[in-house]
Amino acid sequence: MAEHAEIAAAALDAALAAILEHEDELGKLDSVAGDGDHGAGMARGFRAAVAADRNGSAGQIIANAGMAFANTAGGASGALVGMFIMSAGAALTDPIDAAKVHAALTKGIEAMVRLGKGQVGEKTMLDTLIPFAAAYGEAAQAGLSVRAAWEQALPAAEAGMKSTAQMIPKRGRSSVLREKSLGTQDPGATSIYYVLAAVGRVLAEHCP
Protein backbone atom coordinates (compact mmCIF):
# COMPACT_ATOMS: atom_id res chain seq x y z
CA MET A 1 0.00 0.00 0.00
CA ALA A 2 1.42 3.34 -1.08
CA GLU A 3 0.15 4.94 2.11
CA HIS A 4 2.12 2.69 4.43
CA ALA A 5 5.22 3.44 2.38
CA GLU A 6 4.65 7.13 2.87
CA ILE A 7 4.22 6.66 6.59
CA ALA A 8 7.47 4.68 6.74
CA ALA A 9 9.26 7.49 4.95
CA ALA A 10 7.74 10.09 7.26
CA ALA A 11 8.74 8.02 10.28
CA LEU A 12 12.38 7.99 9.12
CA ASP A 13 12.28 11.76 8.58
CA ALA A 14 10.85 12.21 12.06
CA ALA A 15 13.51 9.96 13.56
CA LEU A 16 16.24 12.07 11.97
CA ALA A 17 14.65 15.28 13.25
CA ALA A 18 14.40 13.87 16.77
CA ILE A 19 18.05 12.79 16.77
CA LEU A 20 19.25 16.14 15.44
CA GLU A 21 17.26 17.90 18.13
CA HIS A 22 18.98 15.81 20.80
CA GLU A 23 22.38 15.32 19.16
CA ASP A 24 24.37 17.30 21.71
CA GLU A 25 22.57 15.76 24.66
CA LEU A 26 23.29 12.26 23.33
CA GLY A 27 26.94 13.15 22.83
CA LYS A 28 27.17 14.37 26.39
CA LEU A 29 25.51 11.26 27.78
CA ASP A 30 28.04 9.19 25.86
CA SER A 31 30.97 11.22 27.15
CA VAL A 32 30.21 10.37 30.77
CA ALA A 33 31.68 6.93 30.36
CA GLY A 34 32.15 6.54 26.62
CA ASP A 35 33.63 8.51 23.76
CA GLY A 36 31.01 11.17 23.17
CA ASP A 37 30.16 10.28 19.60
CA HIS A 38 26.74 8.73 19.98
CA GLY A 39 24.80 11.81 18.91
CA ALA A 40 26.99 12.40 15.88
CA GLY A 41 26.86 8.72 14.92
CA MET A 42 23.07 8.44 15.13
CA ALA A 43 22.73 11.68 13.17
CA ARG A 44 25.07 10.38 10.48
CA GLY A 45 23.13 7.12 10.35
CA PHE A 46 19.68 8.69 10.02
CA ARG A 47 20.93 11.24 7.51
CA ALA A 48 21.97 8.32 5.33
CA ALA A 49 18.77 6.46 6.15
CA VAL A 50 16.52 9.24 4.88
CA ALA A 51 18.61 9.55 1.73
CA ALA A 52 18.24 5.85 0.85
CA ASP A 53 16.06 4.51 -1.94
CA ARG A 54 12.35 5.11 -1.21
CA ASN A 55 10.80 2.98 -3.90
CA GLY A 56 8.84 -0.09 -2.91
CA SER A 57 6.83 -1.12 0.11
CA ALA A 58 7.11 0.25 3.63
CA GLY A 59 9.20 -2.80 4.55
CA GLN A 60 11.53 -2.26 1.61
CA ILE A 61 11.96 1.43 2.42
CA ILE A 62 12.81 0.59 6.01
CA ALA A 63 15.20 -2.18 4.99
CA ASN A 64 17.00 0.15 2.56
CA ALA A 65 17.20 2.80 5.23
CA GLY A 66 18.66 0.29 7.69
CA MET A 67 21.27 -0.80 5.15
CA ALA A 68 22.26 2.82 4.55
CA PHE A 69 22.40 3.42 8.28
CA ALA A 70 24.69 0.44 8.86
CA ASN A 71 26.90 1.41 5.94
CA THR A 72 27.36 4.97 7.12
CA ALA A 73 26.97 5.55 10.82
CA GLY A 74 29.91 3.57 12.17
CA GLY A 75 30.49 2.71 15.80
CA ALA A 76 28.72 0.05 17.80
CA SER A 77 25.41 1.80 17.36
CA GLY A 78 25.89 2.04 13.60
CA ALA A 79 26.11 -1.70 13.30
CA LEU A 80 23.45 -2.47 15.91
CA VAL A 81 20.81 0.07 14.93
CA GLY A 82 21.52 -0.46 11.25
CA MET A 83 21.00 -4.20 11.56
CA PHE A 84 17.90 -3.65 13.67
CA ILE A 85 16.26 -1.37 11.13
CA MET A 86 17.32 -3.52 8.19
CA SER A 87 16.07 -6.76 9.71
CA ALA A 88 12.84 -5.22 10.93
CA GLY A 89 12.21 -3.74 7.49
CA ALA A 90 12.90 -7.03 5.76
CA ALA A 91 10.35 -8.75 8.01
CA LEU A 92 7.64 -6.15 7.47
CA THR A 93 5.61 -7.49 4.59
CA ASP A 94 2.38 -6.01 3.29
CA PRO A 95 -0.39 -5.91 4.27
CA ILE A 96 0.73 -4.36 7.51
CA ASP A 97 -1.04 -4.82 10.81
CA ALA A 98 -0.02 -4.66 14.47
CA ALA A 99 0.97 -8.32 14.58
CA LYS A 100 3.26 -7.82 11.58
CA VAL A 101 4.84 -4.78 13.23
CA HIS A 102 5.42 -6.83 16.35
CA ALA A 103 7.01 -9.60 14.31
CA ALA A 104 9.24 -7.03 12.61
CA LEU A 105 10.34 -5.56 15.95
CA THR A 106 11.14 -9.06 17.15
CA LYS A 107 13.25 -9.82 14.08
CA GLY A 108 15.10 -6.55 14.51
CA ILE A 109 15.87 -7.30 18.13
CA GLU A 110 17.01 -10.80 17.23
CA ALA A 111 19.47 -9.39 14.72
CA MET A 112 20.78 -6.89 17.26
CA VAL A 113 21.24 -9.60 19.87
CA ARG A 114 22.96 -11.90 17.39
CA LEU A 115 25.43 -9.13 16.55
CA GLY A 116 25.97 -7.62 19.99
CA LYS A 117 25.32 -10.65 22.22
CA GLY A 118 23.48 -8.42 24.65
CA GLN A 119 20.43 -8.85 26.86
CA VAL A 120 18.15 -6.77 29.05
CA GLY A 121 19.79 -5.23 32.12
CA GLU A 122 23.19 -4.47 30.58
CA LYS A 123 22.59 -0.76 30.08
CA THR A 124 22.15 -0.71 26.32
CA MET A 125 19.52 0.20 23.79
CA LEU A 126 18.04 -3.26 24.35
CA ASP A 127 16.70 -1.96 27.66
CA THR A 128 14.45 0.36 25.69
CA LEU A 129 13.72 -1.91 22.76
CA ILE A 130 12.88 -5.20 24.45
CA PRO A 131 10.26 -3.88 26.92
CA PHE A 132 8.80 -1.83 24.08
CA ALA A 133 8.47 -4.84 21.80
CA ALA A 134 6.98 -6.93 24.59
CA ALA A 135 4.38 -4.29 25.40
CA TYR A 136 3.65 -3.83 21.72
CA GLY A 137 3.13 -7.58 21.35
CA GLU A 138 0.61 -7.62 24.17
CA ALA A 139 -1.26 -4.69 22.71
CA ALA A 140 -1.29 -6.28 19.28
CA GLN A 141 -2.62 -9.51 20.71
CA ALA A 142 -5.32 -7.50 22.47
CA GLY A 143 -6.39 -6.33 19.00
CA LEU A 144 -5.11 -2.76 19.04
CA SER A 145 -4.22 -0.99 15.81
CA VAL A 146 -0.65 -0.34 14.67
CA ARG A 147 -0.91 3.16 16.01
CA ALA A 148 -2.76 2.40 19.25
CA ALA A 149 -0.38 -0.44 20.10
CA TRP A 150 2.54 1.90 19.61
CA GLU A 151 0.98 4.47 21.91
CA GLN A 152 0.33 1.84 24.54
CA ALA A 153 3.84 0.43 24.34
CA LEU A 154 5.75 3.71 24.53
CA PRO A 155 5.63 4.04 28.33
CA ALA A 156 7.39 0.67 28.59
CA ALA A 157 10.16 2.02 26.35
CA GLU A 158 10.41 5.14 28.48
CA ALA A 159 10.56 3.13 31.68
CA GLY A 160 13.21 0.88 30.14
CA MET A 161 15.28 3.88 29.10
CA LYS A 162 15.05 5.42 32.55
CA SER A 163 15.96 2.16 34.24
CA THR A 164 19.37 2.26 32.53
CA ALA A 165 20.44 5.14 34.78
CA GLN A 166 20.71 2.70 37.67
CA MET A 167 22.51 0.02 35.68
CA ILE A 168 26.18 -0.79 35.42
CA PRO A 169 27.24 -1.31 31.80
CA LYS A 170 28.42 -4.71 30.59
CA ARG A 171 28.63 -4.04 26.85
CA GLY A 172 30.29 -1.51 24.65
CA ARG A 173 32.84 1.20 25.07
CA SER A 174 31.62 2.32 28.46
CA SER A 175 31.73 -1.13 30.06
CA VAL A 176 35.27 -0.59 31.33
CA LEU A 177 34.06 2.22 33.49
CA ARG A 178 31.34 0.43 35.38
CA GLU A 179 30.55 2.75 38.31
CA LYS A 180 31.34 5.98 36.46
CA SER A 181 28.13 5.79 34.51
CA LEU A 182 25.91 5.04 37.49
CA GLY A 183 23.19 7.67 37.62
CA THR A 184 23.48 8.47 33.91
CA GLN A 185 21.08 7.10 31.31
CA ASP A 186 22.57 4.97 28.59
CA PRO A 187 22.94 7.07 25.41
CA GLY A 188 21.75 4.28 23.12
CA ALA A 189 18.71 3.53 25.27
CA THR A 190 17.94 7.25 25.18
CA SER A 191 18.33 7.76 21.44
CA ILE A 192 16.17 4.73 20.71
CA TYR A 193 13.45 6.11 22.92
CA TYR A 194 13.54 9.43 21.05
CA VAL A 195 13.21 7.52 17.80
CA LEU A 196 10.32 5.40 19.02
CA ALA A 197 8.54 8.49 20.34
CA ALA A 198 9.04 10.31 17.04
CA VAL A 199 7.66 7.36 15.11
CA GLY A 200 4.70 7.32 17.48
CA ARG A 201 3.93 10.94 16.62
CA VAL A 202 4.01 10.14 12.90
CA LEU A 203 1.66 7.21 13.41
CA ALA A 204 -0.66 9.38 15.47
CA GLU A 205 -0.82 11.89 12.66
CA HIS A 206 -1.13 9.55 9.69
CA CYS A 207 -2.80 6.35 10.87
CA PRO A 208 -6.45 5.73 11.27
Binding site: S31, A33, D35, D37, R44, A76, G78, R171, S175, V176
Partner: protein, 331 residues
Amino acid sequence: MTYLFNDPINFREDMIEGYVAAYSRMVERIPDASGVRIAGGAHKGKVGVLVGGGSGHYPAFCGMVGRGFATGAVIGDVFTSPPGEQCYRCGKGVDGGAGVVFSYGRYSGDVMNFSMGEMRLEMEGIDVRQVIVTDDVAASPNFDERRGVAGDFYVFKALGASAWRGDSLDTVEALGNRVNQWTRTFGIAFSGCTLPGKSEPLFTVAPGKMELGMGIHGEPGIETGDMASASEIAKLLVDKVLSDAPLDAPSRAAVMINGLGATKYEEMFVLYGSVHKLLQAAGIDIYKPLVGEFATSLNMAGCSLTVSWMDAELQALYDYPVESPAFTTWG
Protein backbone atom coordinates in the same frame (compact mmCIF):
# COMPACT_ATOMS: atom_id res chain seq x y z
CA MET B 1 40.58 21.98 21.72
CA THR B 2 40.40 20.98 18.10
CA TYR B 3 40.85 24.21 16.15
CA LEU B 4 41.38 23.33 12.52
CA PHE B 5 38.32 22.09 10.70
CA ASN B 6 35.76 23.15 8.17
CA ASP B 7 32.29 21.64 8.57
CA PRO B 8 32.78 19.11 11.41
CA ILE B 9 30.54 16.68 9.50
CA ASN B 10 33.19 16.47 6.78
CA PHE B 11 36.14 16.21 9.14
CA ARG B 12 37.02 12.63 8.25
CA GLU B 13 36.69 13.20 4.54
CA ASP B 14 38.71 16.45 4.62
CA MET B 15 41.36 14.70 6.66
CA ILE B 16 41.69 11.74 4.30
CA GLU B 17 41.92 14.05 1.33
CA GLY B 18 44.70 16.11 2.91
CA TYR B 19 46.50 13.00 4.08
CA VAL B 20 46.53 11.42 0.66
CA ALA B 21 47.60 14.71 -0.95
CA ALA B 22 50.49 14.98 1.51
CA TYR B 23 51.72 11.40 1.26
CA SER B 24 50.83 10.35 -2.27
CA ARG B 25 54.40 9.10 -2.60
CA MET B 26 53.52 6.31 -0.14
CA VAL B 27 49.75 5.89 0.02
CA GLU B 28 46.67 6.17 -2.17
CA ARG B 29 42.95 6.35 -1.58
CA ILE B 30 41.11 3.05 -1.83
CA PRO B 31 38.59 3.82 -4.60
CA ASP B 32 35.05 4.47 -3.33
CA ALA B 33 35.98 3.75 0.25
CA SER B 34 36.88 5.45 3.47
CA GLY B 35 40.41 4.19 3.55
CA VAL B 36 43.92 4.25 2.16
CA ARG B 37 46.39 1.65 1.02
CA ILE B 38 49.97 1.41 -0.10
CA ALA B 39 50.64 3.44 -3.25
CA GLY B 40 50.17 1.25 -6.31
CA GLY B 41 47.72 -1.03 -4.53
CA ALA B 42 47.90 -4.48 -3.01
CA HIS B 43 50.74 -6.75 -4.09
CA LYS B 44 49.68 -9.89 -5.89
CA GLY B 45 50.37 -13.00 -3.87
CA LYS B 46 50.96 -11.20 -0.61
CA VAL B 47 48.67 -11.27 2.39
CA GLY B 48 46.82 -7.98 2.77
CA VAL B 49 46.93 -6.41 6.23
CA LEU B 50 44.06 -4.02 6.92
CA VAL B 51 44.27 -2.02 10.11
CA GLY B 52 41.81 0.56 11.26
CA GLY B 53 39.34 2.06 13.58
CA GLY B 54 38.07 5.54 14.22
CA SER B 55 40.16 8.61 13.45
CA GLY B 56 41.62 10.99 16.02
CA HIS B 57 44.43 8.55 16.82
CA TYR B 58 46.99 9.43 14.15
CA PRO B 59 49.48 7.94 13.39
CA ALA B 60 47.12 5.08 14.24
CA PHE B 61 45.90 3.91 11.89
CA CYS B 62 46.47 5.34 8.44
CA GLY B 63 49.97 6.64 9.23
CA MET B 64 51.17 3.04 9.50
CA VAL B 65 50.49 2.03 5.91
CA GLY B 66 53.47 1.41 3.69
CA ARG B 67 56.27 -0.92 2.68
CA GLY B 68 56.81 -3.53 5.39
CA PHE B 69 53.87 -2.21 7.35
CA ALA B 70 50.08 -2.38 6.95
CA THR B 71 48.78 -2.75 3.41
CA GLY B 72 45.88 -0.45 4.10
CA ALA B 73 43.76 1.28 6.71
CA VAL B 74 40.02 1.75 6.97
CA ILE B 75 39.19 5.11 8.50
CA GLY B 76 36.16 5.82 10.65
CA ASP B 77 34.89 9.16 11.92
CA VAL B 78 36.56 10.62 15.00
CA PHE B 79 36.58 7.94 17.72
CA THR B 80 34.01 5.92 15.74
CA SER B 81 34.55 2.46 14.30
CA PRO B 82 34.24 2.45 10.53
CA PRO B 83 31.01 0.87 9.24
CA GLY B 84 31.09 -2.78 8.20
CA GLU B 85 30.59 -1.75 4.58
CA GLN B 86 33.83 0.23 4.67
CA CYS B 87 35.67 -2.65 6.32
CA TYR B 88 34.45 -4.79 3.47
CA ARG B 89 35.45 -2.32 0.75
CA CYS B 90 38.86 -1.66 2.23
CA GLY B 91 39.42 -5.35 2.89
CA LYS B 92 38.72 -5.93 -0.77
CA GLY B 93 41.06 -3.07 -1.61
CA VAL B 94 44.03 -4.71 0.11
CA ASP B 95 43.40 -8.25 -1.14
CA GLY B 96 46.25 -9.57 -3.23
CA GLY B 97 44.81 -13.04 -3.58
CA ALA B 98 46.56 -14.53 -0.54
CA GLY B 99 43.96 -13.61 2.04
CA VAL B 100 43.45 -10.65 4.32
CA VAL B 101 44.15 -10.01 8.00
CA PHE B 102 42.02 -7.46 9.82
CA SER B 103 43.80 -6.01 12.81
CA TYR B 104 42.53 -3.43 15.26
CA GLY B 105 42.24 -2.67 18.92
CA ARG B 106 39.39 -4.47 20.64
CA TYR B 107 36.33 -2.21 21.01
CA SER B 108 32.87 -3.64 20.64
CA GLY B 109 31.96 -1.38 17.72
CA ASP B 110 35.09 -2.34 15.84
CA VAL B 111 34.54 -6.01 16.50
CA MET B 112 30.98 -5.79 15.14
CA ASN B 113 31.84 -3.75 12.08
CA PHE B 114 34.99 -5.62 11.10
CA SER B 115 33.07 -8.86 11.57
CA MET B 116 30.34 -7.63 9.25
CA GLY B 117 33.03 -6.74 6.71
CA GLU B 118 34.62 -10.14 7.15
CA MET B 119 31.30 -11.90 6.46
CA ARG B 120 30.90 -9.99 3.21
CA LEU B 121 34.44 -10.80 2.06
CA GLU B 122 34.14 -14.45 2.95
CA MET B 123 30.93 -14.61 0.92
CA GLU B 124 33.10 -13.55 -2.01
CA GLY B 125 35.61 -16.28 -1.26
CA ILE B 126 38.30 -14.12 0.35
CA ASP B 127 39.87 -15.75 3.39
CA VAL B 128 39.83 -13.24 6.27
CA ARG B 129 41.45 -13.56 9.68
CA GLN B 130 41.09 -11.20 12.59
CA VAL B 131 44.00 -10.33 14.86
CA ILE B 132 42.41 -8.31 17.64
CA VAL B 133 44.70 -6.34 19.93
CA THR B 134 43.99 -6.52 23.68
CA ASP B 135 46.93 -4.84 25.37
CA ASP B 136 45.25 -2.49 27.86
CA VAL B 137 45.76 -4.03 31.29
CA ALA B 138 43.45 -1.41 32.81
CA ALA B 139 40.44 -2.57 30.86
CA SER B 140 39.83 -5.97 32.42
CA PRO B 141 41.55 -8.70 34.42
CA ASN B 142 40.71 -11.07 31.56
CA PHE B 143 43.19 -10.75 28.73
CA ASP B 144 40.62 -11.46 26.01
CA GLU B 145 38.23 -8.79 27.25
CA ARG B 146 40.72 -5.95 27.17
CA ARG B 147 40.76 -2.95 24.89
CA GLY B 148 43.47 -2.36 22.34
CA VAL B 149 45.51 0.81 22.69
CA ALA B 150 49.11 1.73 21.84
CA GLY B 151 50.14 -1.93 21.64
CA ASP B 152 48.46 -1.95 18.23
CA PHE B 153 51.74 -0.67 16.85
CA TYR B 154 53.74 -3.78 17.67
CA VAL B 155 51.07 -6.11 16.35
CA PHE B 156 50.71 -4.14 13.10
CA LYS B 157 54.47 -3.98 12.72
CA ALA B 158 54.76 -7.75 12.97
CA LEU B 159 51.82 -8.41 10.67
CA GLY B 160 53.20 -5.97 8.12
CA ALA B 161 56.68 -7.46 8.15
CA SER B 162 55.40 -11.00 7.95
CA ALA B 163 53.03 -10.22 5.08
CA TRP B 164 55.59 -8.13 3.23
CA ARG B 165 58.24 -10.84 3.29
CA GLY B 166 55.69 -13.25 1.83
CA ASP B 167 54.49 -15.41 4.71
CA SER B 168 51.26 -17.39 4.35
CA LEU B 169 47.97 -16.17 5.80
CA ASP B 170 48.20 -18.73 8.62
CA THR B 171 51.69 -17.60 9.52
CA VAL B 172 50.90 -13.87 9.39
CA GLU B 173 47.87 -14.40 11.61
CA ALA B 174 49.74 -16.60 14.07
CA LEU B 175 52.65 -14.17 14.40
CA GLY B 176 50.33 -11.23 14.97
CA ASN B 177 48.53 -13.13 17.69
CA ARG B 178 51.83 -14.09 19.29
CA VAL B 179 52.84 -10.42 19.55
CA ASN B 180 49.49 -9.54 21.08
CA GLN B 181 49.87 -12.30 23.69
CA TRP B 182 53.09 -10.67 24.87
CA THR B 183 52.12 -7.00 24.74
CA ARG B 184 50.88 -4.95 27.72
CA THR B 185 49.98 -1.26 28.07
CA PHE B 186 48.87 1.03 30.86
CA GLY B 187 47.95 4.68 30.33
CA ILE B 188 47.23 7.84 32.29
CA ALA B 189 45.62 11.14 31.36
CA PHE B 190 46.15 14.66 32.64
CA SER B 191 43.44 16.37 30.57
CA GLY B 192 40.57 15.46 28.31
CA CYS B 193 40.19 16.10 24.59
CA THR B 194 37.58 17.94 22.58
CA LEU B 195 35.86 16.69 19.43
CA PRO B 196 36.00 18.92 16.32
CA GLY B 197 33.26 21.53 16.53
CA LYS B 198 32.60 21.00 20.24
CA SER B 199 33.62 23.50 22.87
CA GLU B 200 33.64 21.19 25.87
CA PRO B 201 36.10 18.36 26.46
CA LEU B 202 34.84 14.77 26.70
CA PHE B 203 36.00 14.69 30.28
CA THR B 204 37.97 16.95 32.55
CA VAL B 205 40.68 16.12 35.03
CA ALA B 206 40.64 18.14 38.24
CA PRO B 207 43.80 20.19 38.87
CA GLY B 208 46.34 18.14 40.77
CA LYS B 209 44.74 14.87 39.72
CA MET B 210 45.31 12.33 36.98
CA GLU B 211 43.15 9.64 35.45
CA LEU B 212 44.55 6.13 35.55
CA GLY B 213 43.77 3.61 32.86
CA MET B 214 41.85 5.82 30.46
CA GLY B 215 40.95 4.75 26.95
CA ILE B 216 42.16 6.40 23.77
CA HIS B 217 38.69 7.66 22.79
CA GLY B 218 38.24 10.26 25.46
CA GLU B 219 36.80 7.72 27.86
CA PRO B 220 37.82 8.76 31.37
CA GLY B 221 40.07 6.56 33.48
CA ILE B 222 39.05 3.70 35.72
CA GLU B 223 40.47 5.47 38.75
CA THR B 224 41.52 9.00 39.71
CA GLY B 225 44.86 9.54 41.43
CA ASP B 226 46.91 12.42 42.73
CA MET B 227 49.26 14.04 40.27
CA ALA B 228 52.82 12.94 40.91
CA SER B 229 56.36 13.58 39.76
CA ALA B 230 57.68 12.01 36.56
CA SER B 231 59.67 9.43 38.48
CA GLU B 232 56.68 8.45 40.60
CA ILE B 233 54.54 8.16 37.50
CA ALA B 234 57.24 6.01 35.91
CA LYS B 235 57.05 3.68 38.88
CA LEU B 236 53.28 3.49 38.69
CA LEU B 237 53.30 2.67 34.97
CA VAL B 238 56.05 0.09 35.29
CA ASP B 239 54.31 -1.56 38.26
CA LYS B 240 50.99 -1.74 36.44
CA VAL B 241 52.49 -3.20 33.30
CA LEU B 242 54.83 -5.65 35.00
CA SER B 243 52.16 -6.84 37.43
CA ASP B 244 50.54 -8.37 34.37
CA ALA B 245 53.69 -9.47 32.56
CA PRO B 246 53.19 -12.67 30.54
CA LEU B 247 54.70 -15.56 32.44
CA ASP B 248 56.04 -17.36 29.39
CA ALA B 249 57.89 -14.41 27.82
CA PRO B 250 61.67 -14.12 27.42
CA SER B 251 63.50 -11.18 29.03
CA ARG B 252 63.93 -9.13 25.86
CA ALA B 253 61.23 -6.55 25.18
CA ALA B 254 60.49 -3.50 23.10
CA VAL B 255 59.30 -0.55 25.19
CA MET B 256 57.20 2.44 24.17
CA ILE B 257 56.21 5.68 25.82
CA ASN B 258 53.25 6.85 23.78
CA GLY B 259 52.00 10.42 24.01
CA LEU B 260 48.28 11.00 23.74
CA GLY B 261 48.61 14.29 21.92
CA ALA B 262 49.37 17.26 24.17
CA THR B 263 52.03 15.64 26.34
CA LYS B 264 55.20 16.56 24.59
CA TYR B 265 58.41 14.81 23.72
CA GLU B 266 60.66 16.46 26.30
CA GLU B 267 58.27 15.42 29.06
CA MET B 268 58.14 11.90 27.73
CA PHE B 269 61.93 11.70 27.66
CA VAL B 270 62.04 12.78 31.30
CA LEU B 271 59.58 10.00 32.05
CA TYR B 272 61.43 7.49 29.94
CA GLY B 273 64.67 8.05 31.83
CA SER B 274 63.05 6.67 34.98
CA VAL B 275 61.13 3.95 33.16
CA HIS B 276 64.33 2.72 31.56
CA LYS B 277 66.07 2.29 34.91
CA LEU B 278 63.08 0.61 36.53
CA LEU B 279 62.63 -1.87 33.69
CA GLN B 280 66.32 -2.68 33.67
CA ALA B 281 66.23 -3.21 37.41
CA ALA B 282 63.32 -5.59 36.87
CA GLY B 283 65.51 -7.67 34.58
CA ILE B 284 64.07 -6.58 31.26
CA ASP B 285 66.45 -6.55 28.34
CA ILE B 286 65.17 -3.37 26.65
CA TYR B 287 65.32 -3.51 22.87
CA LYS B 288 64.97 -0.48 20.58
CA PRO B 289 62.63 1.55 22.76
CA LEU B 290 60.39 4.23 21.24
CA VAL B 291 59.29 7.54 22.69
CA GLY B 292 56.75 9.49 20.68
CA GLU B 293 53.19 9.51 19.44
CA PHE B 294 51.84 6.23 18.13
CA ALA B 295 48.20 6.13 19.20
CA THR B 296 46.90 9.57 20.14
CA SER B 297 43.55 10.72 21.40
CA LEU B 298 43.25 14.06 19.62
CA ASN B 299 44.95 16.52 21.93
CA MET B 300 44.47 14.71 25.20
CA ALA B 301 47.32 15.21 27.65
CA GLY B 302 48.64 11.93 28.96
CA CYS B 303 50.77 9.00 28.01
CA SER B 304 51.06 5.25 28.23
CA LEU B 305 53.75 2.67 28.72
CA THR B 306 53.77 -0.40 26.51
CA VAL B 307 56.07 -3.38 26.90
CA SER B 308 56.13 -5.92 24.10
CA TRP B 309 58.17 -8.99 24.88
CA MET B 310 59.83 -10.82 22.01
CA ASP B 311 61.81 -13.91 21.13
CA ALA B 312 64.14 -14.15 18.15
CA GLU B 313 61.28 -14.83 15.72
CA LEU B 314 59.34 -11.74 16.79
CA GLN B 315 62.48 -9.64 16.99
CA ALA B 316 63.15 -10.31 13.32
CA LEU B 317 59.73 -8.85 12.53
CA TYR B 318 60.36 -5.83 14.74
CA ASP B 319 63.72 -5.28 13.05
CA TYR B 320 62.22 -5.51 9.57
CA PRO B 321 62.60 -2.12 7.84
CA VAL B 322 59.43 -0.15 7.20
CA GLU B 323 58.54 2.95 5.25
CA SER B 324 55.28 4.71 6.03
CA PRO B 325 54.19 8.33 6.44
CA ALA B 326 54.46 8.18 10.22
CA PHE B 327 57.16 5.66 10.94
CA THR B 328 60.16 4.66 8.88
CA THR B 329 63.24 2.69 9.86
CA TRP B 330 66.35 1.44 8.16
CA GLY B 331 65.93 -1.83 10.07
